[in-house]
Symmetry: C2
Subunit: 228 residues, 2 copies
DNA sequence: AAATTTATGTACCACGTGGTTCATTTCTGT
DNA sequence: ACAGAAATGAACCACGTGGTACATAAATTT
């Protein structure tokens, strides 16, 4: 009754696959831990998340978690930075303004891709929510985070400058407000999906509804900057 | 060293004030517990929140918490419903469309008040965030919650119908999308204030910035529905 | 005045928590 | 072949957790 199934004698380093060297294997383990931890932190918050549970859900042990990360907080920071890295990678293509489209078209692309980015990275969105609940106690210390938004804002600024030059956009608004509007609607659509579904009694996960909200973000942005 | 300050002999019912009867005093205690618990749940999430801490921070004891609420979950539900009740009360005036203003003006009011409502009830916003992180596990069961959003949406629908009749608004959009845009921007401005401040390095708490964002929500809404 | 209900304090419980100790196994450089 | 390093398991620890048992003081009802 005690040792059922997996025999406990499997001690020492596990042989995942012989062809990768130590460092690579360590990276895999780390990544796996971070992956599982992301889910746990997102579901229960920093305080609520249990290292024991993370250990159980991953295919390592608590011992290995503390082998790779000094403490719970460090693991959480790693989770957050990994999430930022993922999203950073996902958006890189959209940042260069394409010269073959009008500023207004570029703005629409920008807005839609912002929505797409959040929608495709729900974990990231949920981590940001958790950070806001915790008053950004972790995000504050990690400067990997800091630069990202500034870059996105600059890209938007470039688009708007071009739009004004082209004569298609008005100039009496702050770019940062447009940024707030785009990010606000796009983020909220993902972050508050559950509560919205419950209180409005509608399903927002369908492809049709997704398309509606993607269009909404683009339309809203374009209408906000267009003349008259 | 053991019994410093407040003597332990103060047992039995506490004499808060002699002139209120039992029921009223009980309500005060309940309200106090809910108040303190709101802060704790909002700061640490459901799992992370500690009943011990709530007891310490309130001027009752853990014993009294479990006297008034069967379990942690029930306390949390009470916290959530209290928050909804507060916000519900706060918005009641704005819901009746005022006939002396144009539909467009009414829409602007609606949007601004949505922002105001969220801004003035940050705890409520933060609870909603927590609920979304928890996939609405509590909100789902409490139907006090359910009706509120529908009412708000109906009010918006009335405004839009009037705007179309007046000829000031286009009709080729879904009211619910406009609703998403307004609530999205307004909610996000409050819920993600911390992360936005950190990543953009600006202070969003000032009266000036507040005014900017209030205007933004109104402008955005009006521009979204205006013709051409 | 007695009985009952309401309200409260103290001490406690089993369990889960983040984190550690110690021993051991496998891999790697020489 | 062998020493040192990297990796892993098992058991453990002090403490905090949600929740309870028991006793009892005050207010209320009879």
């Amino acid at each position: 009754m005690k040792s059922e199934g997996r025999e406990k004698a499997r001690s020492g380093r596990r042989k995942l696959s012989a062809d990768q060297d130590g460092a690579a294997r360590a990276q895999v383990t780390r990544a796996n831990i971070i992956d599982v931890a992301t889910k746990e932190f997102v579901a229960h918050g920093f305080d609520g998340a249990s290292v024991n549970e993370i250990a159980k859900a991953s295919d390592t042990s608590k011992r290995m978690i503390y082998y790779h990360f000094a403490c719970k907080q460090e693991l959480y920071t790693a989770v957050l930075e990994a999430a930022y890295a993922r999203v950073g990678r996902a958006v890189v293509t959209s940042e260069l303004p394409q010269r073959d489209q009008s500023a207004m078209e570029a703005l629409r692309s920008y807005a839609c891709e912002a929505f797409e980015k959040f929608n495709a990275n729900e974990d990231f969105v949920r981590l940001i929510m958790a950070e806001n609940l915790a008053r950004g106690s972790t995000i504050q210390k990690s400067d990997i985070v800091r630069q990202r938004s500034r870059t996105n804002l600059s890209a938007l600024e470039a688009i708007c400058r071009r739009g004004v030059e082209e004569g298609s956009m008005r100039s009496d608004f702050r770019t940062v407000d447009l940024y707030f509007a785009i990010v606000g609607v796009a983020f909220h659509a993902v972050s508050n999906r559950t509560s919205t579904e419950i209180s409005l009694g509608m399903d927002l996960g369908s492809e049709a509804e997704l398309a509606y909200r993607r269009r909404l973000v683009g339309d809203m942005a374009c209408r906000y900057v267009c003349k008259i």
